[in-house]
């Protein structure tokens, strides 16, 4: 059995990463909007984002939109890859047939 990435293999972080994976490559989302999409508290989301950032899976940038500071969150290339590998590993667990190709 493949080892599942422990950073992603936690419900909250899996939801965060799955949400971010729907953004197009090169896009980031404002922290409050992400919080709203996930229905998490700001503190809780921050904790999980920090863990993902420490692993190099998300990129967080602070910027200004007009005069208000904004925090933008996006999946890094490494994070996208890790998520794809995780999803593939999960699918392989569910369907342990030798063919790797999914229709």
């Amino acid at each position: 059995m493949t080892e599942l990435d422990p950073v992603i293999h936690a419900q909250a972080r899996l939801r965060v990463v799955a949400s971010l994976s729907t953004l197009n490559v090169g896009d980031k989302i404002a922290f409050p909007r992400l919080q709203e999409l996930l229905a998490m508290t700001a503190g809780n989301l921050s904790v999980h984002l920090r863990k993902l950032e420490d692993a190099g899976y998300v990129e967080i940038s602070k910027t200004h939109r007009g005069r208000t500071p904004a925090t933008l969150v996006g999946l890094s290339r490494r994070g996208r890859l890790a998520f794809e590998e995780y999803t593939e590993a999960i699918r392989a667990l569910l369907d342990p047939s030798p063919s790797k190709e999914q229709p």
């Binding site: 599942l4 293999h9 909250a12 409050p32 809780n44 999960i90």
Partner: protein, 214 residues
């Protein structure tokens, strides 16, 4: 959920379900309903150009007697309303997403604005020397032609098949209308163009629904 959300999903099936639910939920909330983007323009063309046809019917016998200012005013009001709807819907959906997609959207918007101004500036200077019906054809064929080309370009930018096909359709019916001549052009644009946008909205919505299925 907040209490044990650091714990792993109970099993692989739960993990996959969690991924799919979260992805479809996010896509649903970040993608505006395609109908809200297509239908207001379709209605504007159908009603606006439709009134234009009714008033300036070929052969100089108006089917319906309307005040002279009405068709153009209705067309512009409906187009402005469609533009406003699109702006509100887009900002609500993508307003908090920045990066490459926002850049594409911004430049695409500039292409519409600057392209329209530059095309219409020349028309404005020429059309006053033309008979009324020819001037009307020149204006509407240029506007519809620009719209068709920009829809095709939008399809290329976002690799959006529905948008590209709509651009092709608009360009073709504009060509047909231009050959049919002044008087007939608004009818073709109203029915085939406006109708085409309504159909495109249905198709885009159906594609969107399929994408958002978990």
């Amino acid at each position: 959920m907040d209490l044990d959300d650091d714990s792993p999903p109970t099993d692989a099936a739960a993990a996959l379900r969690l991924i799919q639910d979260q992805q479809s939920e996010t896509a649903r909330r970040l993608d505006p309903d395609a109908r809200l983007l297509y239908w207001p323009w379709g209605v504007a063309w159908l009603v606006g150009f439709g009134l234009f046809f009714l008033q300036f019917t070929p052969g100089d016998r108006a089917l319906v007697h309307l005040p002279g200012w009405l068709p153009l005013t209705v067309l512009f009001v409906l187009l402005a309303a469609a533009g406003a709807t699109q702006a509100v819907v887009s900002v609500r959906a993508y307003g908090q997403v920045v990066g490459d997609s926002a850049q594409r959207g911004k430049w695409y918007g500039y292409a519409w604005a600057l392209g329209s101004v530059s095309a219409y500036a020349g028309l404005g200077r020429v059309s006053e020397h033309l008979p009324h019906d020819q001037a009307a054809l020149l204006w509407s064929a240029t506007a519809v032609g620009l719209t068709g080309a920009l829809h095709m370009a939008g399809g290329a930018v976002w690799l959006d098949r529905d948008l590209f096909r709509l651009g092709v359709w608009i360009s073709v019916i504009n060509l047909v209308g231009a050959f049919a001549g002044a008087g007939w052009h608004p009818l073709i644009v109203a029915v085939a163009g406006g109708g085409g946008m309504l159909v495109a909205g249905v198709l885009a919505r159906r594609r969107q629904r399929q994408r958002q299925q978990p």
